[in-house]
Amino acid sequence: MSKAPLFSISILVGVILLSFFGGLIYNVSPFELNSEAILLPPSLEHPLGTDRLGRDLLARIIEGGKVSLTIGVGSAIIASLIGIMAGVSAGYFKGKVDKSFVIAVDLFLTFPTFFLLLAMVSYVEASTLVLIVVISITGWMTTARMIRSESFAIGNKPFIKILKIASVPSYKIILKYFLPLIAPIFFISFTFGVGGAILSESGLSFLGLGVLPPQMSWGSILSEGKEVIDIAWWVSFFPGLMIFLVTFSLINISDYLQSVTNKREKII
């Protein structure tokens, strides 16, 4: 039994508080241009420095955090919902439903996810909502597979078989007996999924296919910094660090949940 990942939890809570309430304390505009303060290194006045248009980096990271976290959580919610519905129906009904499930998952796994994202974003203009949809429909497969194999195991339990023989309606069996048993695996893959979605979003933003200016996310700030990386490391260093810290904490928490619930599924 491993210890609770207090360090990861506090980082996560800290970043969430910073992103959504940091603006109340640190009252600097993330949009304001300042030609006097271009590419300043971190200092007391600008704790994380400024970018090449003289905008304050801390304020931008706070603002970008809202977008990155929203996309991460939003995509993970949708992806998990798709995963639960597909996984449970495949595991419960088996047979033809399961066969079509396997084909669908194979199909999505065969497309390189990133290519699919690129192809979609290249013709739909990116916005927070579009990114959430795109990332979730390319990221539901892992959850679905895990839930499918879990549902198979649950479906083979004697009490489920008895319920089926007693012709209890399927939706009742699923809602009342399947979902509670699936809950642990759901939370594991959800925390894991949020991390994965934040990584996907930042990758897209990094290639210039993420949210459009004046909106910003950690990935897009990092991407703006890559042109001045040799003279101003801080512009890309800090947003990248945020992405890394948040995903690292989420994955740590997910790993902890796995060891607590004793559901060490192989996530890849």
């Binding site: 390189p112 290519f115 013709y123 990584l199 990758g203 890309s236 995903t247 740590n252």
Partner: protein, 320 residues
Amino acid sequence: MKLLLKKLLYIGLMLLIISLISFGAIHMAPNSFFSAGELNPNITPETLEHLKRIYGLDKPLWEQYLSWVWAMLHLDFGISFATGKSVTQEIAQRIGVTLGINLVSMSIVFALSLYLGIKAALKQDSVFDRTVKQFSLISFSMPSFYLALLVIILFAVELKLFPIGGLHSLEQKSGVYYYLDIAWHLVLPIFVIVFVSFGSMAMYVRSLTIEILKSDYIFFAKARGAGEKEIVKRFVLPNLSPPLVTVLGLSLPGLIGGSVILESIFSINGMGLLFYQAALARDYPVIMGILIITSFLTLLGNVLADLAMLRLNPYFKRDS
């Protein structure tokens, strides 16, 4: 044999669906190449019609689809809208670089993960095990482009040990030096790929090994005095190979997808960079060509993995 036929049929079905989806999705896209402002704004409607006729865009959709599939069966993916060159040639020139880089990185990842994963599993909950685990989690959460930027700053800009990008130095080298030069350019990209992918693999090997070590035959092997080395060689490795081969087959799309980011950072002229440029320019023939080829490679990888599985695991032979 029957199984092989079934597998081939499955590949065919998958490719058909994939080709339909990618064709449909891209042709329903609101922004076409011919309206994206890529062309001369003074173009007359007649010239536009003429252009469309050259590319066969004036025919009904199903006819376009069929002729596209027919051409693809002859390895002809059409002509790139952006460069006017044959897509097959464009891809053929670059696919080697991308596959080569991924092959080398994947071999390193495998060797590293096997070593770390098995050792960690043998010494479960030791300091070594926990260190491997922490590094794996770091590897998993590290965005590849961020790591790439960091190593570029550190090793290319500050220490000037490795080049910032590209595949070749400016002056042409010959003989052995030509390959050494390429290798020198690829150190950083391969390091990044290995770093971001070894984590999940090592954890997978670790958890598989722990399962294997729990089995009765390991218990009895230990009871009759088999050493750690013998156990790993005779029991762990053979039992690890089937699941790992499957994972190898499945990891291909992720690797090629990851090439998009890495190749654009290190300006390596491979398939990933080509796809990125094509996606930005809405160059359909190139986009679709690459999608189909990578899907085909992935499916092929899966089937090869399944076949290898049959050889590695006699149990499945009985099943089918």
